[in-house]
């Protein structure tokens, strides 16, 4: 996708261990961000994603490694001389300045004249639909409004790279969805590269061009949302992105070929690279249910099928999550609410999935 | 603290400017104050000795600034120059402490030749004996006074002995002051020590016992001249060891019937002498000291403070001290031949540290 010559931001072999910490916060991190790209860093808390963001912003320095912007080494450049802006998780609006003053602040630091910077700040506030709140003080705003002001402050100078540190974390669902749309359209409009840190896979997958999934200071997988979702590179990614069943299997020669066995039952068509114990991941929505009695007819004759009993059902609005007990294991299937009314605890069902959609990991 | 975090909108700059102006005004007099060519004469002196107005007047006439620093006890008089807190030119030291000041290098030998007004000092005052340290005169008198027994004349007849302080009748109504140098000789006199400045171990034991029995008699120790006046005036004490007879006169002025008596055992008497430091060994300082001993200066001093000064009765009268004032001083009495026999002039004690330890233990109540 991005070529080195085009990369706006490059991280090369970043290592960082905090004083007194047993394990590194960042471990050999390398990636590039293309101009105008929406790049997400996804990971659970403590995975080092915020450290990484602060490294790009200039608040942390790597023990080893380089940060390059436009090919120039900015590892030792202080934050205020980097063409990078951040939207902070806590928004970090200056409590003693009005909304307008907050947004005009970066321009003021850049030495812009008063009239000019106020005009620009107003425009920018209009862009995030906060034009009516210029004289308010931050404590007089709601969470969503503060969020937009923080965003306005970060983009008012049109930086080359915008860093967003879990900016939607404190907002409610509806606001979060609104803001997601706004962020995407804003990013298109401004053409700024966004580096977006989040622990919410939904946000990462829905908005990003590419996603880096982080775990324990390393990049577990880097790819497009599709690659990440459908072709997880590791058990961790499979677990963290989307919702998957993780079933212990045994790979053994069966009827002449290497076959996956779940509780002794062969799962035909599941590709296993080598023999021995392994785990198989299959997403909830890839699992289908059928009545126990019906024969495994129609096109799904290739599909793996396991008999089980419904244990419990969660109502999610547009879907149901049906937890099925199959011998020693539980398998969860996500089925559309319409047509799923019949699944009640105690009902025997058949669990089916397409072996092509299963991924096997060796421990 | 969070009570100031409110938005301070209304013309903060104005307030700041105002504060700046105020600060400038404050600093200005210090910068603008008159500068004399000569180094100022710093006095470590006692209250009433050097009225700032007199000092200013003399300073303007002689082209030098005179700065009087008032101290409250011999203790301070010693510690201030010794620690370097104040570097005085002139100190007013009672006779008993002169050797200590000399040993500590705080005063230098005094050049009496530069002070012709020594002739004005009353012949009744046998000062040369006490200002001679190691064969050299180190100071000349400026003032003298007695430390008698003072009492409320409405409450009792005139006592004739220090023993009155130990009288159970006056339990809780006795006052003394916190100065070991001056109080200890009184205790020594009260217990009948032969030489109150050279106590034997037996004398010390007697003094300790006397202090032990004196403690329940005393409710409070005066911290100074004015403090004493307040304590007596408020009725917290009826009799006591008098720090300065000005306490008595000042009480009389306020309509309280207080008087003092010279007990038969002897009354500790001090002579405050002018000593000069190494820094003060200058002609202008000697001129100041000489003028301090002029009849005019002394008369004004006696008149204003009812102290004894150093003048003879006739000189004082000639200088213009009023009869009323003279009556309140010891000057007329001191003409009598036997007057001086009742007085005991302070001298250097045998072991000051031992006395102080006892005094501190007495105050702490652990004697």
């Amino acid at each position: 996708m991005a070529k080195t010559s085009q990369a706006i931001l490059t991280l090369a072999g970043i290592d960082k261990t905090y004083d007194g910490a047993a394990r590194p916060a960042l471990d050999r991190i390398s990636f590039t961000v293309a101009p105008g790209e929406f790049f997400s860093i996804l990971g659970p808390s403590g995975s080092g994603k915020t450290t990484l963001l602060r490294m790009i912003a200039g608040f942390e320095r790597p023990d080893i490694g380089r940060v390059l912007m436009d090919g120039a080494d900015i590892t030792d450049v202080p934050p205020f001389r980097r063409d990078v802006r951040t939207v902070f998780q806590s928004y970090a609006l200056f409590p003693h300045m009005s909304v307008l003053e907050n947004v005009a602040y970066p321009l003021r630091m850049a030495g812009a004249r008063k009239a000019e910077r106020l005009a620009k700040a107003r425009d920018c506030l209009a862009l995030v639909s906060m034009g009516d709140f210029t004289t308010r003080l931050p404590h007089q705003l709601s969470g969503g409004q503060r969020q937009r002001v923080a965003l306005a402050r970060a983009i008012v100078c049109r930086p080359r790279v915008l860093l967003l540190d879990e900016p939607l974390g404190a907002l409610d669902l509806r606001l979060r969805q609104q803001m997601q749309h706004m962020l995407v359209s804003l990013q298109r409009e401004l053409g700024i590269a966004f580096v977006y840190v989040t622990h919410d896979q939904g946000e990462a997958l829905s908005m990003s061009d590419r996603v880096a999934v982080m775990s324990e200071g390393r990049i577990a997988q880097l790819g497009t949302p599709r690659e990440i979702y459908f072709d997880p590179a590791s058990e961790f990614v499979a677990q963290f992105v989307g919702r998957s069943n993780l079933l212990p299997i045994e790979a053994a020669p069966h009827e002449g070929s290497l076959t996956a066995l779940l509780g002794g039952r062969a799962l035909k068509g599941v590709m296993v690279p080598r023999s021995g114990p392994a785990r198989m991941a299959i997403r909830f929505e890839c699992v289908r249910l059928a009545d126990a009695g019906t024969p495994a007819g129609h096109p799904a004759d290739e599909a793996c099928a396991i008999e089980g009993v419904v244990e419990d059902v969660l109502f999610l609005g547009n879907a149901l999550e049906v937890n099925v007990r199959c011998g020693d294991h539980n398998i969860i299937a996500a089925v559309p609410t319409l047509g799923g009314e019949g699944y009640r605890p105690g009902r025997p069902v058949r669990v089916m999935f397409d072996p092509g959609q299963a991924t096997v990991f060796h421990g | 603290m969070t009570f100031h975090t409110g938005d301070w909108a209304p013309s903060r700059r104005g307030v700041l400017k105002g504060m700046g102006a105020a600060a400038a005004t404050l600093a200005a007099p210090g910068v603008l104050s008159r500068a004399y060519a000569q180094e100022p004469i710093v006095l470590l002196t006692w209250e009433t000795y050097h009225d700032p107005a007199w000092c200013k007047e003399w300073g303007e006439a002689n082209g030098v600034e005179v700065k009087p620093v008032v101290i409250g006890s011999v203790d301070e008089l010693f510690s201030q120059p010794f620690s370097g807190a104040v570097q005085p030119d002139v100190m007013y030291i009672e006779t008993g402490s002169l050797p200590r000041f000399k040993e500590a290098g705080l005063i230098v030998p005094f050049d009496t030749a530069k002070v012709p007004n020594i002739k004005n000092i009353t012949p009744n005052l046998d000062w040369k004996k006490y200002t001679d340290v190691g064969g050299e005169v180190v100071a000349v008198p400026y003032n003298w006074g007695t430390q008698p027994l003072m009492y409320n004349a409405d409450a009792m007849p005139a006592p004739d002995s220090w023993k009155a302080l130990w009288d159970p009748k006056y339990r809780g109504k006795v006052n003394i002051f916190d100065d070991c140098t001056i109080c200890f000789p009184m205790i020594a006199l009260a217990v009948g020590a032969k030489d109150p400045f050279n106590l034997t171990d037996a004398d010390f034991a007697a003094c300790e016992e006397a202090l032990r029995t004196l403690r329940p008699q005393i409710r409070t120790i005066a911290r100074g001249f004015d403090d004493a006046v307040t304590i007596y005036a408020a009725g917290e004490a009826l009799l006591g060891y008098c720090q300065n007879i000005a306490v008595v006169t000042s009480l009389q002025d306020k309509g309280k019937n207080f008087a003092y008596a010279l007990p038969k055992e002897g009354t500790p008497t001090w002579i405050d002498c002018t000593g000069v430091s190494k820094k003060g060994d200058r002609d202008i300082v000697y001129k100041f000291i000489n003028d301090n001993l002029s009849t005019k200066w002394q008369a004004r001093f006696i008149e204003a403070s009812t102290n004894n000064g150093v003048l003879d009765l006739s000189e004082a009268k000639a200088g213009g001290v009023s009869e009323a004032t003279l009556k309140r001083t010891n000057i007329p009495d001191s003409q009598a031949g036997d007057f001086w026999e009742k007085l005991v002039i302070l001298q250097k004690p045998e072991d000051f540290e031992r006395r102080l330890q006892i005094w501190n233990d007495f105050k702490a109540g652990t004697l």
């Binding site: 080893i64 202080p78 205020f80 630091m109 | 603290m1 301070w8 005036a233 408020a234 000051f352 702490a364």
Partner: protein, 576 residues
């Protein structure tokens, strides 16, 4: 997609950490060495010398400590001093706690005025207030007159003044404002949600207090206690004025060793012992006061808005609460009232009964040149001390908070050592140090001496504020393109301005009222309290009452005006 970046050559490892040692740290070290380390080493060094014939012999010896070990009076006085201060600080906390609770969590309007009202008495010289207590407690004093007049006593009691009781009372009186300030700040910070969470969990009001409010405020109670303890433990002027013969405290013995006895090693040894015992007690108190966990979030108390109608019983209780709240204020202001009264009394003697009304003391003020000079000097000293301390404390707070100082924790405590040194000792210690540095006595010395204990107080206040500040603010500012200095000017300073002003107020208060330290440093240029101290011993004039009455009225007015301005500004801010 393979990241091309990973193919790039890796930069060599950087062994030196980012800005671990910075120039910003040097002033902290310099201050520590000049105002803490050297003076105290001088003191400790002196304590191991001995005297001979009244002069110090430079010959290491334990003689002074041996003498202390054997001295019953030293041990008795030490215990007595510590016990009295301890008791007073404890009483002070007991009285201040309900007051602070009421002010921080019950009162909704004009809270800052209530706080300032507790602080104002501190601006009136301690000597004046103690002096006034004598008039209240004395034989012909108000208390006795009232008791005799009402028939409770047949004749005036001698139990009130010149006893242990009067010392404890005045010490408690001194302690209350310090305890109050510390406790108030803690209580104000407790989020109301925690209290609601506790009530929600089924806790009664008492249980909520016992298990939530008290543990969260306990560390501050310990700090308030320590401050109050320190204020009184080195003070020998107060007990000597109201305590009578039994008012002798260890400070007086120390002072006499450095003065008349001229036994500096012995005095230094006592001072070292006092410092060690005080340190031990404070360590114990702070240890006992600690609470696990850190209160996060900057939200203050949001007391419920009580707009609902109250039952008559509740109203009664509320009125009762207000009365109880007002009582300590009465206690705080009683001596000031006496002072005001005396400033109009037509007599030079400060005792009852009054002789008649006059304004002549005010008229005399204008002509009292030395007093006006002392007032001017006090203001200048206070201003300079606050300026020096404020600049240093702000700089140090940043250096410490942002990791520009090695062993920041150590230095934070080390810089505060002068606060924990009893005044009389600090005064002597600072004389030794300034003497060594050849600084002449006068304003310069006073400023240095006072800054040594004012700076740490301001530092503590500013540091506390910085720690509560959202760390992201600085980053947001730097991220916006502001360098360190711009970030300081536009973001950090405005955020901590309240703390700096509060600290400056407290610093000015400490400076304006200091007697013990200044006494040794003033030389020929007395500040107002020193001048008053001298006046009290000889030549007291009621003009002193007049000037402090003016100071008190002036500060009251200033506070009311400020409050109005702030209130208006807030109202305007809300409209906008």
């Amino acid at each position: 997609m393979a990241d091309l970046a990973s193919d790039m050559s890796l930069a060599p490892a950087r062994p030196v950490r980012f800005h671990r040692i910075s120039v910003l740290g040097w002033p902290v070290y310099a201050w520590f060495i000049a105002l803490v380390l050297v003076p105290n080493l001088l003191l400790i060094g002196t304590s191991f010398l001995r005297t001979s014939n009244g002069f110090i012999v430079f010959d290491p010896s334990f003689a002074s400590y041996l003498r202390l070990w054997k001295s019953a009076s030293f041990q008795f006085l030490l215990v007595k001093t510590l016990a009295t201060s301890f008791g007073a600080a404890a009483l002070g906390c007991l009285i201040a706690y309900p007051m602070a609770y009421y002010a921080a969590r019950v009162v909704q309007k004009n809270r800052s005025v209530l706080v300032l009202l507790v602080i104002i008495p501190l601006w009136i010289s301690l000597l004046m207030r103690v002096f006034a207590w004598r008039m209240i407690l004395g034989q012909n004093g108000i208390l006795n007159s009232a008791l005799v007049g009402s028939g409770l006593l047949d004749q005036p009691s001698e139990a009130f003044l010149y006893t242990g009781f009067s010392v404890l009372l005045t010490y408690t009186y001194i302690s209350i404002p310090f305890c109050f300030i510390a406790i108030f700040t803690a209580l104000e910070k407790i989020p109301h949600a925690l209290i609601e969470a506790s009530q929600d969990s089924g806790a009664s009001a008492w249980q909520t207090f016992r298990h939530v409010v008290w543990p969260l405020s306990r560390p501050s109670v310990a700090i308030g206690f320590s401050l109050a303890f320190l204020m009184t433990v080195g003070d020998y002027v107060t007990p000597s004025m109201v305590g009578g013969i039994d008012g002798t405290m260890i400070g007086m013995v120390i002072a006499s060793q450095f003065g008349i006895a001229n036994n500096w090693p012995y005095g230094a040894a006592i001072a070292v012992c006092l410092m060690l015992s005080v340190g031990l007690i404070l360590a114990l108190v702070l240890w006992a006061g600690q609470t696990r966990g850190v209160l996060t979030g900057d939200e203050g108390a949001r007391p419920p808005v009580a707009s609902r109608r109250l039952t008559s019983g509740q109203r009664l209780r509320r009125a009762g609460g207000r009365m109880l709240f007002a009582l300590p204020y009465l206690f705080l202001y009683a001596p000031l009232a006496i002072m005001v009264l005396m400033s109009f009394n037509d007599s030079t003697v400060q005792a009852f009964p009054l002789s008649g009304a006059t304004l002549r003391w005010y008229a005399e003020l204008a002509g009292n040149q030395p007093m006006l000079e002392a007032v001017r000097r006090s203001l200048m000293v206070g201003f300079l001390v606050v300026l020096v301390s404020g600049v240093a404390a702000t700089g140090f707070a940043f250096a410490l908070h942002y990791g520009r100082v090695r062993r920041a924790r150590f230095f934070e405590f080390a810089l505060a050592v002068p606060v924990a040194i009893p005044g009389v000792v600090l005064g002597i210690v600072m004389v030794l140090a300034t003497q060594l540095a050849q600084i002449p006595s006068g304003v310069g010395r006073i400023v240095i001496g006072q800054a040594s204990f004012v700076m740490p107080v301001m530092l503590m206040i500013i540091l506390a504020r910085l720690r509560r500040l959202d760390g992201a603010l600085l980053e947001a500012s730097m991220d916006s393109g502001a360098n360190h200095w711009q970030s300081f000017v536009h973001v950090l300073f405005p955020s901590i301005r309240g703390a700096i002003i509060g600290g400056a107020l407290l610093g000015f208060t400490l400076s304006a009222d200091d007697v013990m330290v200044t006494l040794f440093l003033a030389g020929t240029s007395p500040t107002l309290p020193i001048w008053v101290w001298n006046q009290m011993r000889f030549g007291f004039t009621p003009s002193v009452n007049a000037i402090f009455t003016l100071v008190g009225v002036g500060s009251l007015l200033a506070i009311l005006v400020c409050n109005r301005l702030i209130f208006h500004a807030k109202a305007r801010g809300r409209e906008g």
